[in-house]
């Protein structure tokens, strides 16, 4: 009945597209600002400021070194226990932080989302990017210790896989985003998932070789551990920097594949709830 054409049409159906990249790019300034806001407000009016970012993985590492390394003997021979655990916990701190924050996206930002439209994916994306700033600080700390151990010569064997590091971090970030938006989409309906996620993340950590080395996993079970998409990333990272373990390229490929599948599932679920979650949250 009408000849007019409209730029925007809103109805009850979900968007045809799984991902509207053009729109996200239009809102890139908002993403930047959210990243900045998260980081700035996190540390404004604290005594130690961004130093807090270092304290958490450092403490975890010290505890791992004392408990798992020295008492239980779960670390590998040949490299300093401390740097071995530090490599793992820096990665895990990022992954768990990004995952938890993403999963809380809707609940934490309901007050903004209830008032104004912007592409909902902006929020989880900027969360994952924002956590990268803390990660960068932690990574610099890691490099500091790493260089120290290199200089005193303690059996570290870095190799060319080091060049893969940015890709590994990207992989980890995408994985956190994918799992995060799946949980986020489900929490709009089931709020109790938010409680479950806290111990879910802890269990996941023990299923990943953070507090131990792959050496202690029985030979026959290695494949099972490696199917955990985080594991090959951690193993590869340690191999590149420390020279322990092995380059698990095949499992890394499988992990990339499962990350892609999780991402598709995440985008689908997220797209299904993003239009109406304000009515239920």
């Amino acid at each position: 009945m009408s000849e007019e054409r409209f730029e925007h049409v809103i109805d009850s159906r979900r968007n045809g597209k799984l991902l509207d990249l053009a729109e996200l790019i239009r809102y890139r300034d908002l993403i930047k600002l959210f990243v900045r806001r998260t980081f700035v407000t996190q540390y404004r009016q604290t005594i130690l400021g961004p130093a807090w970012a270092i304290i958490q993985p450092l403490f975890t590492t010290v505890i791992f070194t004392l408990v798992f390394g020295n008492l239980a003997g779960l670390s590998p021979e040949g490299v300093p226990t401390f740097i071995f655990y530090l490599a793992g916990s820096v990665l895990w701190t990022y992954f768990s932080g990004a995952l938890t924050a993403t999963a809380n996206t809707f609940v934490n930002n309901a007050h903004i989302m209830g008032k104004v439209y912007f592409p909902r994916l902006v929020m989880p994306i900027s969360t994952v990017l924002g956590q990268l700033i803390s990660f960068a600080i932690q990574f610099v700390m890691f490099l500091g210790f790493y260089v120290y151990y290199l200089i005193i010569g303690s059996g570290l064997a870095p190799n060319l896989w080091l060049l893969m590091t940015p890709l590994l971090i990207l992989h980890l970030a995408l994985l956190a985003l994918a799992v995060g938006i799946i949980i986020c989409a489900l929490t709009t309906k089931y709020r109790d998932l938010l409680v479950a996620i806290r111990f879910g993340v802890t269990i996941w950590m023990y299923a990943t070789p953070i507090a131990y080395s792959m050496d202690i996993v029985p030979e026959g079970l290695t494949w099972l551990f490696m199917l955990n998409p985080v594991t090959p990333i951690v193993v590869m990272f340690r191999y590149a920097f420390l020279g322990v373990g092995e380059a698990c390229t095949m499992y890394l490929g499988i992990s990339a594949l499962s990350t892609a599948l999780l991402m598709l599932a995440g985008l689908y679920l997220f797209g299904r709830v993003e239009k109406t979650f304000m009515d239920t949250i």
């Binding site: 009408s2 007019e4 409209f6 730029e7 925007h8 049409v9 809103i10 109805d11 009850s12 239009r26 809102y27 300034d29 908002l30 930047k32 600002l33 806001r37 700035v40 407000t41 404004r44 009016q45 007050h111 903004i112 989302m113 209830g114 008032k115 104004v116 439209y117 912007f118 929490t187 709009t188 309906k189 089931y190 709020r191 109790d192 998932l193 239009k275 109406t276 304000m278 009515d279 239920t280 949250i281």
Partner: protein, 419 residues
Amino acid sequence: MSETVIRFDNVSKEYRRGQIGGGTLREDLADWMEKRSRGDDAHKSGDRFLALEGVSFTVKRGEALGIIGQNGAGKSTLLKLLSRVSAPTSGTISFNGRVASMLEVGTGFHRELTGRENIYMNGAILGMSKREIDAKFQQILEFSEIGEFIDTPVKRYSSGMYVKLAFSVMAHLDCEIMIMDEVLAVGDMAFQKKCIERMAGASKDDGRTLLYVSHNMNTIRQLCDRCIVLDKGHILYDGDVEKAISIYMQNMSESRLSYDYRNYVRNCGSWEHKIAIDSLEVLERDNVVLKAGETLKFRISARALRDVPAMKLRLQVASIDGVVVGTAFSDRDVSVREGVSFTAELKFSACGLSCGSYTCVLAAFEYNSVGETRRIDYIEDALRFEVEDKELSWDRNVFGYVKLTPLVVDSLEVEGRLS
């Protein structure tokens, strides 16, 4: 001028009654089991209600459209749908251009950030790029009258400054469609006037389209050139502003003796909904026309959604055209535990109010030992009544809304008395 920018086509929106909030997995499983054992979905249908039903209209470029209606008529729902915060249950909404919505003052303001940072933040949320905001920054700053405080965190701002800054960002956005939900009710008078002029200018000179929801008929008159009256989710009237206002007033002055707020959608952005006032019933009379000095007795029933150690009620009385006249506070406080239902009988004296129709906001608030108060429930247009005064004719525009205590004539000496 004749180009259509917004089209609502048979739009309906359904909400679930009662508890609006995510269920838990256990509840859903229990629901599912129940459904299976009963084999039907009947128990669910009663929980739903339509906030909008089959609404259709179009808006042309440059029009300033007012939307008025009673509580629960669907005004806010309509704006929410257009600003894409929520999606319609059925029907389609089409529009051209960017929509800047201001459903609440200071959307996205973060307390820890400075005014400057918040301008960028808020602009970006509303869809502007950094470059566009750069270009407008000086204008925004000047309009807001914030001056040197621009680099102070907004948590140190007074509420007036906060509102000014928020409105300034909104008013300077490059957008084709502006949506406002009664934001002008805040700020000082001079600034309100400035805002109205700015918005009127935006629609008349810049050809922007404006949708404005208000209970204040005066601002509707000043701003809008067309008006829609909504009633229970339907469009009652669409057209001339004065006609719309008179229909609305007529609709408003129907006296009711009992009110049910269970379907009322609270607009709680900045406060926590801890008490749900469910109903109000006028007692001991069959009309709500009060003679000067008479008392209105009513009973409310409510539920506590959270523990509240100390709460009171207040009744904010406004004249029917939206001017707030005064507020009555309950003289006793009450403490309630989560999950408890309670009723209260209250007496309100219309003493001092001049004749005319009034509408009240019923609010519950909690307070602590240092006197901080926070609202925990807020129902606009919760109760209506009329005051009748046969003695004198009363012209509100000249006399105001309150009849002060009489001017007592202490002594009188007249020289040439007319007899």
